[in-house]
Symmetry: C2
Subunit: 149 residues, 2 copies
Amino acid sequence: MTETDDVAVLEAANGELYAAIEAADLDRMGRVWLDEPHAQDVICVHPGWPPIQGRDQVLRSWAAIMANTSYIQFFLTDVEISVAGEVAVVTCAENILTAVGDAEADSSALSGGHVVATNVFRRTPGGWRLWVHHASGVLASTDGPTEDD
Amino acid sequence: MTETDDVAVLEAANGELYAAIEAADLDRMGRVWLDEPHAQDVICVHPGWPPIQGRDQVLRSWAAIMANTSYIQFFLTDVEISVAGEVAVVTCAENILTAVGDAEADSSALSGGHVVATNVFRRTPGGWRLWVHHASGVLASTDGPTEDD
């Protein structure tokens, strides 16, 4: 398998994480993440949260998020993929459209968010599985503090 | 080399990142990060920032942070290290003591911060080098939303 093949497969694996959240499908989410013998290595940092370690704990956090989200849609941009042997790092910007309250009754209840994510995948016999997800909100409107460049 | 050796070396490599920031030593910081042929893969997400990609751009961001920080000290806790072949993930909590304004004149100008970091290291002939640093502030005071566990 060439590295180009890896990149296409990784882009799909990364998209599957967000598709599972959008569909609020916990079984689908379970297939995204690393399982035994590495289940305890799994780490997830939701925006503003401390890290959650362990596959079961991480999936429980997603179940809670899904239960509290009536509607969510991700538009991924700036997807960067880098492979090193059996590990790959995918970074992307999550441009989020989400419903606050009863979105079906009032379209003005939709709100947007801008989050950046680092997703580390590990190659397994069953394909690339998510090992680490670290997401954080972007507060700055600039590209950083080096405006005097 | 056993995995136990790796863990000790990785803990030191991870500590070196924070020692370089504390010392405001950009050369030392440069030795922490991955270099050619992987310099362009380097990614850094400072708390609240969009990702910065590329070794030169990342080091420039650290130079800006060092220039604007009169005093900073890190107390690392919850350091978790996981190795997969030539890649390792280190997560830790950064308990930060930093100076706001002129700390030497007034000790009340010190402030604290709580940040979590995911640091991905890549094994190189010259040792473990930092590939990805993703840091984000912790807003929640609980361990997550699953308080009904």
